[in-house]
Symmetry: C2
């Protein structure tokens, strides 16, 4: 569940009074999400999402996240838009926590991933990358290669309790990635957490067509290598529930991305390494959470071993052809 | 949290198609509630609550609960109303579970109880008791005096791990209640779980007035002694966070109830005993849950010791005057 902070009636009233959205008629905690307290807020004017930022989201990063949503929404990216109070301020305080209200996004994240989801996602991600090009704020990715060593250190000695040899797997992979991580690929603002539960779709009655209605949860967004975002999605969207890699989804996802934002040969060639990095990043955080989630916590721990298997897959590939990218298979204009 | 069952997109579409409510545009799990999976469902026609009944709610009892909501709503009691499908049926099936959609109720349960909440609640409860008088279905209260012995038995030997001497406290109280439980007080349909989180209010901007917008969660409703419902509420609403009993809230709650449904002397005199029974009932279920909630479960366990303290308070009183009922203090027409 994802409601850590209770909101008193009087506090809510005073908070809502700072906006021009009428009076609160209902506030229900939302069970999804694990980082912050999310409420569905109804007023006589409409439906909104109220978020109280818990300690894992750093308060000093919040202006970056909220400004980014404003920036992207203004450029036609489908995402929640922060509401600004009567005084023009979006980031406020409620029940002792930083808090903001954002617009409500129709749709639902997909429980079963089909090809159309991957394509729609890739197009929206590429559009977001383009729209972020002139975003004036900067936030380093604390969960990228420079931060992995400290994360690996913090779980060292305990990782083997999850899987014998896991510490050694992590150490060896980390050494390889630190040595090989690319430093000349195009960078910009990435979402960095585009898992299926952060992407909403509306589908027709028969479930035949899937239309992306928006991206949510920008609270890991940062400046990093743009195609690293795509590598995260290869991991998050293209493995089937049985653990097998769906090369068709990967190929179509990359192709759909490149239709909106053409990929260079260097970017394509870097995908296997970036996918290994993305797998290690989620392996590290999941392992840390697994080891540090207190018993009885109201958060469902995610399985680290899923990402051991994904890492091993990417370690085993010989090049981007493993993702369905036959030479000149798509976007030939960029593969000269 | 309260989402145990995931709903696949196709299943949701097929389910919604059974109703005349348009198409689903959003479905969000609600963090509140512990017994069933509750979703806030939005369609192009409105907002609804979708509930999937988990195993603790017995499927054979569901027609009683849903019919009761229909019955009460038709008589002006503010509560969710089950939606009936195109075929007239309200109780349906989704994701392998019994499921129903009910109307959405505006308002919010009170985080801080003030006198006005107690009075509004008591009036609504009395109105509900009157409205249930001609409800044609019957459901025994499995969590009343006849069931306590088996419950006490199931936790015997482990209760002392929560509090030394707790088993003996329970056994002695149970013996007293079984011997003294009244059998000639007026009976009818009671809610049996009218805790603050099952009662919604709308308040004005200043938070000065509180208007009850409805009662929810009828999944413990049953036939039992009517004022037993009031005794449950004395426990649930009239103790302050520091454990002290607020006699003013109790007196005003009872008086407000009696304004709508006059109380007999026998009913008033039985209140201390019924309040002991109510305290034991929640002590038993909380103790059972405390001992049987698996580590890491996504449910927040409620403290059994809160109800040990409430039980001891009611054991210590000498009569209904402890609840502020000076002789002929209210409703004199019934105190002849």
């Amino acid at each position: 569940m994802a409601v850590y902070t209770e909101v008193a009636d009087q506090d809510l009233d005073a908070f809502i009074a700072g906006y021009d959205i009428g009076e609160a008629s209902s506030l229900k905690g939302i069970a999804e999400g694990v980082e912050n307290s999310n409420y569905l807020l109804q007023t006589d004017r409409g439906v909104y999402i109220l978020t109280l930022y818990e300690k894992r989201t750093k308060a000093e990063d919040l202006p970056f996240f909220l400004s980014l949503m404003d920036h992207l929404a203004a450029r036609g990216v489908d995402c929640p838009t922060p509401l600004h109070g009567r005084d023009g301020v979006a980031l406020r305080s409620l029940s002792g926590k930083p808090a903001a209200i954002v617009t409500f996004l129709q749709g639902r994240w997909p429980r079963q991933i089909v090809l159309a989801h991957c394509q729609e996602l890739a197009r929206a991600m590429a559009k977001m990358h383009l729209a972020g090009a002139d975003f004036p704020l900067f936030r380093a990715n604390s969960l990228s290669v420079a931060g992995w060593s400290a994360m690996a250190h913090s779980i060292d000695g305990n990782a083997d309790s999850i899987l014998p040899g896991l510490s050694q797997t992590i150490a060896a992979e980390l050494a390889h990635l630190e040595k090989s991580w690319p430093d000349s690929l195009p960078t910009g603002v990435i979402h960095a957490d585009l898992f299926p539960d952060n992407v909403f779709y509306l589908h027709d009655k028969g479930g035949r067509s899937e239309r992306l209605s928006g991206l949510i949860d920008f609270y890991f967004a940062c400046n990093d290598i743009l195609v690293y975002d795509l590598a995260i999605c290869l991991n998050a969207w293209c493995f089937e529930p049985d653990g097998s890699f769906n090369v068709t989804k990967a190929r179509m996802m990359i192709a759909a991305y490149a239709q909106v934002r053409p990929l260079s040969v260097d970017e394509i060639n870097a995908l296997p390494l970036l996918a290994r990095g993305a797998a290690l990043r989620f392996l590290l955080t999941r392992t840390y959470d697994w080891l540090n989630t207190p018993e009885g916590a109201l958060v469902k721990r995610k399985d680290p071993l899923e990402y051991v298997r994904k890492l091993r897959f990417h370690q085993s590939v010989s090049g981007p052809n493993a993702y369905g990218l036959g030479a000149y298979g798509f976007a030939p204009e960029t593969m000269d």
